[in-house]
Amino acid sequence: MTESNKVLTKKDITKLAIYSSLLQASFNYERMQAGGFTLAQLPFLKKIYKDDKKGLSEAMKDNLEFINTHPNLVGFLMGLLLSLEENRESREVIRGLKIALFGPLAGIGDAIFWFTLLPIMVGISASFAMQGSLIGPILFFAVYLGIWLLRIPLTHLGYTLGVSAIDFIKEQSKVFSKAASILGVTVIGGLIAKYVHIEVLTKIPVSEGHVISLQTDFFDKIFPNILPLGYTLLMFYLLKEKRVNPVILILITFIMAIFFSYLGVL
């Protein structure tokens, strides 16, 4: 890398770690954390792109794409991506890495923070609290404050790793983008199976005392997740081939969900 590209200071990266707390500021089901993810990086993207409106716009557009990762670990990802932005890596590389990394980070974060640490902390602090001791909530607060502070070294780590990986990435950029896209598309396939939930509640009586549940006896046995897959591909088709506005698709989805809920189908 060339030193002249370097505009972000250590202090900036520490600030980035603190701003990463805003990840979910405009959380929504369509893009999940995309708004806050962009927001936290904006001051630094601005510093990198300065008067280059087009570059800044491209970076903002990329960051506004769907992302759902773990708030405690996102600083690592932001640090890494900003080091790539700083070196003006191609948009495909930056986007590919982002998409490849956010899912695994979410998985690791959920496993560590929600499924391991929380039950342990609840067990310890609730038992203190129920004896009327303030140690319970204080201990709980202290541990989670410590975890929040971990964002700072994690963000620095992401940034440093990104810088040292750049020469390698640059040399291999095209081949690397293809590999990153493959990883990204694989993960998107998995995301559809994990995050899109459509469960049909309809039950069909076939004979006396015998009913067939469309979901558990039919879809789940023949092709689990076929409805989430089908609906996502329908959205993909409408967005790409028919150029339908995503807002329309959201509204239709919303109305349809309430309507089918009313009928008892979903």
Binding site: L42, A106, L118, S181, L234, F236, I250, I258, G264
Partner: protein, 265 residues
């Protein structure tokens, strides 16, 4: 029977706004019932009840996490109302947990509604990104967070001071299909986001990887996407080495501008 003074109600409202924003951002974990219950107890001048109610609610809520994208019953209202109900009515905090649940559900539904409807802000965000309008994007994030904060303030003030009974009736009389409809919509909406991602990334040559990722996540009984990501890495490495070892393929990839189907095999 204790009653809540206006000052206490206002302090509780302020506290709920702060921890409510923390729940929205998932930053400091002040939103967990153990902290909320204790703070509520402090404001009401009965820390002991707050600690016990907070501890009990925390245990009840330990398994209810937003991991994986599902919104659990709201922990802020659960911790707060369990303590308030135990304090004002003198009921056992164990019973108060159940009485506080409608309030917890009400806040959950409100957030579910926001999770869905805030999707509408994203078109505006795209426009701001197009124009490189930094201020506009900041504004969107401020507005959404403010809406959430104000909602917490209103719900808590109404619940603890103005109309505790009325609120409970409303929650209980909300038609189940409407509440359920919000949940269903929440489950389906990510499909639109993934559709948009696919629009950007998908090429004919990537279809096999898409199928592999989908089927692994469908059939592996694993709570997160790590196995999919690991297999994705393996596939990416395989393609990477294969491309590097075959100069013809390598040149093909280098020469292609990143679009178009390559049939170099």
């Amino acid at each position: 029977m204790e009653s809540i003074t206006l000052t206490q109600a206002l302090l509780l409202t302020l506290m709920a706004i702060i921890v409510g924003i923390d729940f929205w951002l998932e930053a400091f974990f002040l939103f967990r019932p153990i902290i909320v219950g204790t703070l509520t107890g402090l404001i009401l001048g009965d820390v002991h009840t707050g600690l016990i109610a907070g501890g009990l609610t925390e245990l009840a809520f330990a398994g209810l996490t937003p991991a994986g994208g599902t919104q659990p019953p709201n922990p802020v209202l659960a911790g707060l109302m369990t303590t308030v109900i135990a304090f004002t009515t003198g009921t056992d905090p164990k019973t108060a947990i159940g009485l506080a649940l409608p309030f917890s559900f009400l806040m959950q539904y409100i957030l579910l509604f926001y999770y869905s409807s805030f999707s509408l802000f994203m078109a505006r965000a795209d426009k701001y990104a197009e124009e490189a309008n930094v201020k506009g994007l900041v504004k969107i994030n401020v507005i959404t967070t403010l809406i959430v904060a104000i909602s917490y303030g209103i719900v808590v003030f109404l619940s603890v001071y103005v109309a505790q009974d009325l609120m409970k009736t409303i929650v209980q009389s909300m038609p189940a299909w409407l509440a359920h409809g919000f949940e269903v919509a929440g489950g389906i909406l990510p499909a639109v986001g993934f559709g948009m991602l696919l629009r950007v990334m998908m090429k004919a040559e990537y279809i096999p990887y898409f199928i592999i990722g989908f089927f692994i996540a469908t059939f592996l009984p694993f709570s997160n996407l790590l196995p999919v990501a690991v297999i994705g890495v393996a596939l990416a490495l395989y393609e990477y080495f294969r491309t590097k070892e075959h100069p013809a393929l390598y040149n093909n990839v280098i020469a292609s501008k990143g679009d178009g189907y390559d049939d170099g095999i």
